[in-house]
């Protein structure tokens, strides 16, 4: 029995059903090779135009939704240490703690690393294409966790805006604990991770290029 638990799964099911119908109409045409009557043209319009259009639309949305998830980020082998750390129930790293948050746990990579500007989703996805290019050209033949490849680093310093989406800088407890630096934190002179630096500890010790650096 097929159960659909989310909109993404529903879209994927619709896309697969339409793809199957389109292929079925195509195979019917190839086997029967009927004359191009009105009915044949109408059927082919469904099989070559309408159903593929639905597959493109629903498939794109479902794929975009999937690209926000942690399994997608972890599907490149160099992300293995990051993924294992984030999913480790005993780990106390910030990545693991946030991944255990049921509000966005499954999308923890994207939630913390996405840009939050007006076109944040677009710039994040463009960076994703850059990741893919780098992966294919620089990391594809590296070790199981990317050993031997160049060190992984962020394209730009981590912005505290990502933290402040959830952690308000106006709460009483926050102000009590950060009274001396609150203005500098808000202005960006001090980043959250300057002090809360245990973000990906396991990953950092096993990151690609670590062995290379140790030898130097």
């Amino acid at each position: 029995m097929l159960y659909l638990h989310s909109t993404e799964q529903l879209l994927r099911a619709i896309a697969l059903a339409c793809a199957a119908l389109s292929v079925a109409i195509g195979i019917w045409y190839l086997v029967r090779r009927p004359h191009l009557h009105r009915v044949t043209k109408a059927l082919l319009l469904l099989g070559l135009g309408v159903f593929p259009g639905i597959v493109s639309l629903t498939g794109n949305i479902a794929s975009f939704e999937y690209t926000l998830s942690r399994p997608f980020c972890g599907s490149c082998h160099v992300m293995g240490p990051y993924l294992r750390d984030a999913e480790d129930p005993k780990s106390n790293s910030l990545a693991a703690l946030h991944s255990r948050n049921h509000k966005f746990g499954e999308n923890s990579c994207y939630t913390c690393h996405a840009d939050y500007q007006m076109f944040g989703a677009i710039t994040t996805k463009m960076n994703g294409m850059r990741h893919l290019f780098k992966y294919v050209t620089e990391y594809a033949s590296t070790g199981p966790d990317g050993e031997g490849g160049p060190p992984i680093h962020l394209y730009k310093p981590f912005q505290s805006d990502a933290c402040m989406q959830c952690h308000s800088t106006t709460g009483k407890r926050y102000l009590d604990q950060h009274a001396d630096q609150v203005e500098q934190i808000r202005s960006g002179d001090i980043a959250c991770i300057d002090c809360h630096s245990e973000v990906h500890p396991l990953a950092l010790s096993r990151r690609p290029g670590a062995k290379k650096e140790e030898k130097k």
Binding site: Y29, A62, S75
Partner: protein, 90 residues
């Protein structure tokens, strides 16, 4: 001639669409980053090209059937030209 070409175009259009659908369904079932990017760019490109070929085939088919209709029409006996209009009865 055009009808034969239309049939060929439809044939290649169907092949292209099947390939694109398999590609895109594969990327939905096995969403690896590289496969996803290829399917959602190349797969959709192939599907759009295949649809364009089908529409061209339909246009060619309509054109050839229209030409055949005109040929049949021309071979039919010419209808007598209408005479001068009769003046309306007073």
């Amino acid at each position: 001639m055009k009808h034969e070409m239309a049939k060929k175009l439809v044939f290649f259009s169907v092949i292209g669409t099947i390939a694109a659908m398999v590609f895109m369904a594969g990327s939905i079932l096995f969403p690896h980053p590289l496969l996803l990017v290829l399917a959602m760019s190349m797969g959709q490109g192939i599907a759009i090209f295949a649809l364009a070929m089908f529409l061209l085939a339909v246009a060619l088919d309509l054109q050839s059937s229209g030409a055949a209709y005109i040929a049949v029409d021309e071979s039919a006996p010419a209808t007598p030209e209408p005479g001068p209009e009769t003046p309306p009865a007073p």
